[in-house]
Subunit: 397 residues, 2 copies
């Protein structure tokens, strides 16, 4: 096991009925000037917007609506301006990963006098880790990214065609996780979020550390949870147990616990970010197409066989004594589960019809993710291209 440090002080309020009774004090303890950040109309349609405004009616609320999926730096800039002009005390994020991601960067940007894009790319001497950060309280409405209990955000800059991750000094102060708020999430978004959760777990499971059974054992349990409950949530959108298991699994998948003691970087997310960047497809759909192809590529390296076999036995209950066969069955089972989410399973089905951009995408993915240096299985540019190409075909799954 590798040396590691772990500290995460987010205050989780999980369950139903807590916004009415606890939100006011959770926010007001930090002050009475609140920046309320949200996305589109869904929280108005669901009544959540009105509920929040009622509960906080004695506080001064400044609003930043319109944060989009793949949150843009323009929203952060607007949030910075509002936070500074109104000298807000706390940011209240109501929405999914994008709204919370943007809110975390705005919380830093309040204390920065330049362009907040500097904070994302560490330009012009900007360093979020040395800046103060406003407390962020969030109400999560989508189970997927885990941002509700971690330090990270991903922000896009359409002007420069860049999309980068950035980490701040603090996780959200308080996160309200009410599974009922995800009852109205569409099938498509439920499936994409579930794939995102599963992918986070895969990225951390397949790492270069041997003998970290604490991490691997917990990940196997979390994987079984998402595999079991995502299909239930798709069939029965208002099944509380399904929504609750998905929500807490998403948080646990990316709050730092299950990566503790591991080494090695992520692979499929780097490959997918290029797909999203070039073709603007849904992140979870891109992950679903690429994951089984990456697994097939990785299994060509025989040093991975035992771990893929373990994955198959522990996660998919594959009863097969031979490691190679168990590993192959695990990849097949992964493919089958993803396809049952209702996703397109090849690139042409998401309108990526030719290989025009594969050279540039492969080069960028390898560079951005250091895939030739830290990935579980080394990925060079030609390897990345091969994975993209295999994703064009139906394959022999």
């Amino acid at each position: 096991m590798e040396n590691f440090s772990f500290k995460n002080d987010t205050d989780i309020r999980f369950g139903t009925g807590r916004i009415e009774s606890e939100l006011h004090d959770a926010v007001a303890q930090f002050g009475d000037k609140v920046l309320l950040v949200y996305g589109g109309h869904s929280i108005k349609k669901s009544g959540l917007y009105d509920q929040v405004k009622n509960v906080l009616s004695d506080l001064k609320i400044v609003e930043l609506p319109g944060v989009e999926p793949n949150p843009k730096i323009a929203s952060v800039r607007e949030g910075q301006k509002l936070a500074q002009e109104n000298d807000v005390d706390v940011v209240l994020a109501v929405g999914g990963g994008s709204v919370i991601d943007a809110s975390k960067v705005i919380a830093s940007a309040k204390f920065y006098q330049g362009d907040p894009w500097d904070l994302v790319v560490n330009a012009n001497g900007a360093d979020r880790m040395k800046l103060d950060q406003l407390p962020v309280v969030d109400i999560l409405t989508l189970s997927a990214t885990g941002t509700e209990m971690n330090f990270g955000s991903v922000i896009s800059n359409p002007e420069t065609h860049q999309k980068f991750g950035t980490g701040g000094p603090h996780t959200p102060a308080i996160s309200f996780l009410d599974p009922k708020l995800t009852y109205t999430v569409s099938k498509w978004q439920t499936a994409a979020g579930s794939m995102d959760i599963f992918s986070h777990l895969i990225e951390q499971y397949f790492n270069r550390t041997e003998n970290n059974d604490v991490s691997r054992g917990m990940i196997e349990g979390l994987m079984r949870s998402v595999l079991k409950w995502a299909p239930v949530a798709l069939d029965e959108p208002s099944n509380y147990d399904a929504r609750a298991n998905l929500m807490w699994t998403a948080t646990m998948a990316l709050n730092g616990i299950v990566r503790s003691g591991n080494k090695g970087g992520w692979t499929v997310h780097s490959l997918e970010h290029e797909l999203s960047a070039y073709y603007d497809i849904t992140h979870g759909v891109g992950l679903g197409i690429l994951t089984p192809r990456w697994m097939k590529f990785a299994l060509k390296d025989s040093s991975t066989t035992a771990l893929f076999a373990r994955f198959g036995r522990q996660v998919f209950d594959i009863q097969e004594a031979d490691d190679q066969k168990a590993a192959e069955a695990a990849i097949q089972a992964t493919y089958n589960w993803i396809s049952k989410l209702g996703f397109p399973m090849t690139l042409p089905e998401v309108d990526i019809k030719d290989e025009t951009n594969f050279d540039a995408m492969a080069a960028s993915a390898v560079k951005t993710g250091s895939l030739d240096k830290v990935a579980y299985v080394t990925i060079r540019v030609d390897d990345a291209k091969e994975i993209y190409r295999e994703s064009m075909k139906n394959g022999d799954f």
Copy 2:
């Protein structure tokens, strides 16, 4: 899944070589007057005591040695006196669960003017949750109780024959977890600590909440970790992976994560505390004797069959389609694993030769643990007696 709140801000520093480079600043950030709490001679023999004193040579250190297993209120009283007289800024606990447990209560007692036993039993208007608490930094030397990342302590009062749990407002501020510091832990203590870890997981796994697969899945992984690595640590005391997996499993088993969303109280710990209180046997040994007998008792209630079967399949890899048979095999496997730790497996082997105290013990266990109200399977006084009686016999394991 039940509603729950989770917040735990302990700063974990896991791995080797970190005391030399990080301990000084970890302690000195809180001030220069340190109460150093430890147990017997083992940390002097191992060189850890000298290392700590060297690293902190520029700070003012007041020492409280001699904290015993099952820490006594007398140590807490002495610590309170030293903390107040010297106006210390921080408590540094170097040792196992007992040393850290005592240190956490001392950290509260510094701010209380009465007898600290009041803080343990909430007498005379004392309330630890409303008191300030000194930061506790600890260096853990035994993998077992999980106190290094939770709010609890267990303190004994030999004058009143009482042993109670108490919770404070803060977990330890910083915990140094160096697996190498456990290389010198004896086989007996390694086995007892491993049994304690396994029991913490069992107590939380068998709870009244259906469909919390996040908790159950993570617990299954943690169980597999302790089942696998405890025997390795017994055979090879200096096996780093074995010590590291046990250490981090112990912390994860009782830092609040895996109980999140569950309901229901613990059973076997309540039954065991009576054994320890009446006969002063090692806690882990008592747990080892009682656990399979409690399981047999619980399985008589057919509502438990499916969960015991799941436990057998996921944790012991039992391949058996029939739930009842899988459940019985799981209990047998539990018994076998415990007996391989080298423990006595009946009460007469630990010099409990007759049933003299069983009435009083059973009544006390049921009352203290509310076993007739909140246990996974309801335990009344007669049931508790039956479990003690079954523990007298070799049984048909």
